[in-house]
Structure formats: structure tokens, C-alpha cells
């Protein structure tokens, strides 16, 4: 594993990069869920910029708070205060060109796997207009995706015939088939066993290197964040604020073995120490 020159110096300091070329911009964003007395602030007055093609991981106590943040960015839920812009445009309704994957694969159970993967092409412009006409082409494209994630021949199966790992592979295919510029991942590998998870990191990195969409990954797994991300943002427990931000200097493609090198260990130690005690407990609870 190579380390890009001069990188470890960036550690620790909160960078408030106010560059305007950011693809995703969170400005003074407050995110809440629930209402009335049950109102909970998941994210509090947070500013974060993500450049096009960047892979950012948000680590911190998991739960509905982080999922809500992703829903706000994708436009599914309005923010309580502040603003989200994607590609220079303020997000006020669900975005068109975004891919999402959740902890549960959320496949439609009445569709075969390949038809589930084709779903975005039936919805997103300009694909939806030519979906029927280009059906065989679309199918070939979905098959190609299936091959790349190691699901060759599984397209004809129903979701309930697939294992959890296979479902998440299919879920990644569905999130990427319409070639979104922004990929939002909400702990997609959280429910998988360690080996499957590592295999899927490899698959995801492979897919990302190919098309380089901007990725925002919410996770509570530091190893996952270090393996995948260009930049890691540590958030405090509710109400979430950015505690720490750090670039991951390792060259790509990364390998799981790289996570055992001293630099990676030191990085994880550092991140871990930044996560405050309260959130650490939450994380350990979740990991056990």
C-alpha cells in the first residue's frame, strides 16, 4: 500500500473547506425526525462539502439519525433547517439521479432479481422512455452488472431465494444500473457476516473505481470506512455534529490485508479516540 505524499499532516484538524465546486453541499444543516415532544435532532447545524467523485464515509453511532441524514440529502425528507445542494441545485424534492442502498436490500419480492435491478431504468429519465424498446439491451446491461458482483446466473431467482450477501450485491447493482452521479449508502453491509462484508467492500470499490460516482457511506464500522473512503467524517451522537474529519491516504485499489498495516491501525486508533465515549458504547453495542 502506498501513502500519498504529505498526507498524515491533515489529521485532526476540522477542515471547513468552503469550495464552491462541491458536488454535495450541506450548509448549516439541521435534521430532525419525529414531531412534538418526540422530536429528535439527528444532525445539528452541520456543514460539509463533498467534491464530485469523492468517496466520503460518515462514522458515528448508527441508527435512524444517520439514515434520516441520507434521506434529507436525497430529498425524501425535508431538513429542519439549513440547506442541501447537489450539483449546485437546492434539494427540495427527491433527486432524479441518485442511487441508494440500505441495510435491508428492499427488493420487490414479486420481481425476479434481474427485474429488480432493472427497476431504476423503468423510472429514471431518459431510460424510462426507451425501456421497452431497449429491453434486450437493458437486460444485457443488468446481466453484466450481475457478473461483476459475482451473481452470474442468479438473475432469474426471486429475492427470497437469495442469501443476505447476494441480496446486497443485487442491491448494489440496482443502485448503480442507471449510472447515478451520487450514491447514498446506508450501512449496506451492516447485517452481513465479516467475510461477506469484506468481499462486498472489494466489489463496491471495484464498481466505484470504474464509474467514480460521488459516494456518501454511512457506517459504524471503522475498518469499512478506512477500506473504502477517501475521507472519513466522525459524527457525535444525537444531535450529530462533525467531531473530526480525516483523509485516508492509501492508494487504490485497496486490499483487506492493507487494513492490518501500522498506518491503517494508527488511523483507526485515531478515529476511535475521536468518537466520544457515549457513542463508542453505542457502537460496541451494535457490533456485538
Amino acid at each position: 500500500m502506498g501513502i500519498s505524499p504529505g498526507s498524515p499532516s491533515e489529521t485532526g484538524k476540522l477542515s471547513t473547506n468552503q469550495r464552491t465546486d462541491a458536488f454535495v453541499q450541506l450548509s448549516d444543516l439541521t435534521v430532525a425526525y419525529g414531531s412534538g415532544v418526540d422530536k429528535v435532532y439527528a444532525v445539528d447545524r452541520t456543514t460539509l462539502n463533498i467534491t464530485a467523485g469523492e468517496f466520503v464515509a460518515i462514522v458515528g453511532p448508527s441508527g435512524c439519525g444517520k439514515s434520516t441524514l441520507l434521506k434529507v440529502i436525497s430529498g425524501l425528507t425535508p431538513p429542519a433547517a439549513g440547506r442541501v445542494t447537489v450539483d449546485g441545485e437546492s434539494v427540495e424534492k427527491p433527486l432524479k439521479n441518485v442511487g441508494m442502498a440500505f441495510q435491508s436490500a428492499t427488493m420487490l419480492p414479486w420481481r425476479r432479481t434481474i427485474e429488480n435491478i432493472l427497476l431504476p431504468l423503468q423510472i429514471v429519465e431518459p431510460h424510462r422512455r426507451s425501456f421497452r424498446r431497449d429491453y434486450s439491451k437493458n437486460r444485457a446491461r443488468a446481466e453484466a452488472f450481475l457478473n461483476r458482483v459475482g451473481l452470474k446466473g442468479a438473475g432469474g431467482k426471486y429475492p427470497w431465494q437469495l442469501s443476505g450477501g447476494m441480496l446486497q450485491r443485487a442491491s448494489l447493482c440496482r443502485a448503480l444500473i442507471h449510472e447515478p452521479e451520487l450514491l447514498l449508502l446506508d450501512e449496506p453491509f451492516g447485517a452481513l457476516d465479516a467475510f461477506t462484508r469484506e468481499e462486498l467492500w472489494r466489489v463496491l470499490q471495484f464498481l466505484w473505481l470504474d464509474k467514480s460516482p460521488t459516494v456518501l457511506l454511512v457506517t459504524h464500522d471503522l475498518r469499512e470506512a478506512v477500506y473504502l473512503a477517501d475521507r472519513i467524517v466522525v459524527m457525535s451522537p444525537r444531535p450529530g455534529r462533525i467531531l473530526h474529519e480525516e483523509r485516508v491516504p492509501f492508494s487504490r485499489p485497496r486490499k483487506v490485508e492493507d487494513l492490518f498495516c501500522p498506518e491503517a491501525s494508527a488511523l483507526m486508533q485515531r478515529l476511535r479516540s475521536k468518537i466520544d465515549h457515549r457513542s463508542l458504547e453505542v457502537i460496541e453495542e451494535l457490533e456485538s
Binding site: 434521506k71 436525497s74 430529498g75 425524501l76 427527491p94 433527486l95 432524479k96 439521479n97 441518485v98 441508494m100 440500505f102 435491508s104 428492499t106 420487490l108 419480492p109 414479486w110 427497476l119 431504476p120 423503468q122 423510472i123 429514471v124 429519465e125 426471486y158 427470497w160 431465494q161 442507471h178 447514498l184
Partner: protein
């Protein structure tokens, strides 16, 4: 498997056997309770005459069932998808469904005259509600996550309905068809007994007027058989169409 497939016939055969023996040993009058052998032979001997009535009832029922199912599914989707529609039509529908359908027949007769039309309308009316309630439940309980998958792609409400809510409600729809088809027979026969000159209902009214009790029982048996047949048809259709909802039950393996 061979033994299991005979199970459904064991109970009716035993019932008829006990019935036959009881009638013979207690010497029960044919005017009170005819023996199975009597009404079975009546059914076979008069098949030509009876089949006209059976065909009429079947035709009427299927037409009413088809119309009622369409209306029920349409209203069910609307009520499941929109709170406004739900709140607007639901109380009125519950009230409407609480009216005994037999009370509607005289009104239909005033409007359309006696015969096929009131019978079709009665069976249609009786089918709407169970289909509507089931489909509405299926549409309304669509998982948020599934909807979010589509919405995050920029899907509009119609897309969500078309690709998620409606397919998702299909198991509910097909389950309700099995209830609706049996109720449709009730609607038809009720109307036929009041105002018609053909159909099993009419036949049974005439039979009881003539004290032809075996013929009346033959009518009952025929209704039961038609009900079972149609139920079986829709059970097969259900398994074909929404097998995905049944998972491990002999589907896809």
C-alpha cells in the same frame, strides 16, 4: 400424496352415508329430509331441465362477480392510496354494505324489471366490499422502504402505485376473490328467488311450492358444487399469480 388428495372427499362421502342410513333407519319422510340417493337421482334424471337453471345462475354470478371485482379493486386502490378518498367513501360504503342485499332486489326490479339484470347487480354489489377492503389494506400497508426505493429515483405517485403498491396488494386481491366468488352465488340466488324465471334460485322456489323436496336439495347440492369449483379455480389462479407471497409452498423449487 395420493392418499392426501382423497382427503377432501372423505368428509362429504361419510356425511352422505350417515345421512342415508339415518333416513332409512328412522324412516324419515321425503317431504322433510330426502335421502342423498333420492336427490342425486333427481339431479341426474332431470339434468336437462336443471342444467338450464344452473347455466343461468353460473352466467349471472360470473358477470356480477367480474363487475363487482373490477369496481372493488378500483375503489380499493383509490382508498388505499389516498387518505382523502378513504375518508370520503369508507363510512358510506360500510353503511351501504350493512344493508341486506335481499332488500335491494325489489328496487332493482322496479328499475330494471325482473330477470337477469337484478341478479347480476345483486351479486355485483355483494362482491364489491370484500375486494375493496382487501385491496385497500394491501395498498395502504405498503412498506415505507419499498416506496422510498422508488421515490429516491424520482418516481411520482403513479409510479409508486404501479410498481409497488398495486403488485404488493395482489395477494390480498386474490385472497378476496375466493371470498367474493362464493358470496356472488349468494347474491345471484337471493335475487333469483325473489324475481326471476330462470336460475337455481327460481328452480328451488318452484320446487318447494310443488313440495318437490328432492329437487330443492338437488339445487342446494348444485350450488355447493359450483361454489367449490369456482373457489378451486381462483385458488389455482392465486397460486399462479402471487406464488411469490407464499414462498416455500411448492413454488419455485
Amino acid at each position: 400424496m395420493r392418499t392426501r388428495s382423497t382427503f377432501p372427499f372423505v368428509f362429504p362421502v361419510l356425511l352422505f352415508l350417515v345421512w342415508e342410513i339415518a333416513c332409512r333407519s328412522f324412516d324419515i319422510s321425503v317431504y322433510i329430509l330426502p335421502m342423498p340417493s333420492q336427490f342425486l337421482s333427481t339431479l341426474l334424471e332431470n339434468w336437462n331441465g336443471i342444467s338450464v337453471h344452473a347455466f343461468q345462475t353460473m352466467k349471472t354470478t360470473l358477470l356480477g362477480f367480474f363487475l363487482g371485482t373490477m369496481i372493488g379493486a378500483f375503489l380499493g386502490i383509490a382508498a388505499g392510496a389516498s387518505k382523502t378518498v378513504y375518508q370520503t367513501i369508507y363510512p358510506a360504503l360500510v353503511g351501504f354494505y350493512s344493508i341486506p342485499k335481499v332488500a335491494l332486489v325489489p328496487i332493482f326490479v322496479i328499475w330494471f324489471g325482473s330477470g337477469t339484470v337484478p341478479a347480476v347487480l345483486t351479486s355485483m354489489m355483494i362482491c364489491i366490499f370484500p375486494v375493496l377492503v382487501n385491496v385497500a389494506a394491501g395498498v395502504a400497508t405498503t412498506e415505507r422502504d419499498l416506496q422510498d426505493v422508488l421515490k429516491s429515483l424520482g418516481a411520482n405517485r403513479l409510479d409508486v402505485l404501479r410498481y409497488v403498491s398495486v403488485p404488493r396488494s395482489m395477494p390480498y386481491f386474490f385472497a378476496s376473490l375466493k371470498i367474493a366468488i362464493t358470496l356472488a352465488f349468494v347474491g345471484t340466488v337471493v335475487s333469483e328467488t325473489v324475481a326471476a324465471n330462470r336460475g337455481i334460485g327460481t328452480m328451488m322456489v318452484r320446487a318447494s311450492a310443488d313440495f318437490d323436496v328432492p329437487l330443492a336439495f338437488a339445487g342446494l347440492l348444485l350450488l355447493a358444487l359450483m361454489g367449490i369449483a369456482m373457489y378451486a379455480v381462483f385458488a389455482v389462479v392465486e397460486r399462479r399469480a402471487v406464488g411469490w407471497a407464499k414462498r416455500d409452498v411448492e413454488f419455485g423449487h
